[in-house]
């Protein structure tokens, strides 16, 4: 049963789909951003779990250890996390401005107001 041994991917799929569901189904913009964060974290987990080597340890060299996990995904994800928070902050700033000019953060109501203006 090879697909049971790939359980890390199934966890990733469930998380990713949960985030995706929030992004699509929720009308609240802040909630959408939360969904996006969950989605993002699932991608992080995907990368990190691919980098794991059975029996390996953290990639910090020590004389008496010779099996390490793959450091490359770690590097990519480390920077991705910080970039992710920066972009999330940008998104939240946009939400705040939307709230100030429309008075709401619900997608449907914003659409309504836009239609009224036209």
């Amino acid at each position: 049963m090879s697909w049971l041994a790939q359980y890390n991917y199934w966890v990733v799929i469930v998380l990713m789909m949960t985030g995706f569901y929030i992004v699509i189904a929720s009308g609240n913009l802040v909630k959408k951003l939360m969904g996006l964060t969950i989605f993002q974290t699932s991608v992080f987990i995907l990368y990190i779990s691919m980098g794991k080597v059975r029996g390996g340890t953290a990639p910090i060299l020590e004389p008496d250890i010779d099996l390490y996990s793959n450091p490359l995904p770690h590097v990519l994800i480390l920077t991705a996390i910080v970039v992710g928070i920066a972009t999330t902050a940008l998104g939240l700033a946009l939400v705040v401005r939307i709230k100030e000019s429309y008075g709401t953060v619900e997608e449907a109501e914003i659409q309504q107001k836009d239609n009224d203006q036209c």
Partner: protein, 90 residues
């Protein structure tokens, strides 16, 4: 021995999680989050010893710090939304 402790910590994390889901009041959730954070600190310290590389206690330290800051932040933003009016009246 370490693994037994880890199991106990994991179970109590689970219980704290249940409390965080159930609520019922806002403060119960904050309490559960705080407790969860403390458990995570212990868990990481223990995991370091289990894997035989206890050099990574920095992470546990940062957890303790972040946990404190986030509890304070939650309280600060929540409390002041209720109390701001009463302060301004006096």
């Amino acid at each position: 021995m370490i693994s037994a402790t880890i199991v106990a910590v994991l179970v109590s994390m689970l219980l704290a999680l249940v409390r965080a889901f159930m609520g019922p009041s806002f403060y119960d959730r904050v309490l559960a989050v705080n407790m969860f954070g403390t458990k995570t600190v212990l868990l990481i310290a223990l995991l370091g010893f289990l894997s035989g590389r206890p050099d990574f206690l920095d992470i546990a330290l940062i957890y303790a710090l972040i946990n404190f800051i986030s509890v304070i932040a939650i309280l600060r933003y929540f409390e002041y939304s209720n109390r701001k009016s009463s302060i301004q009246e006096t």
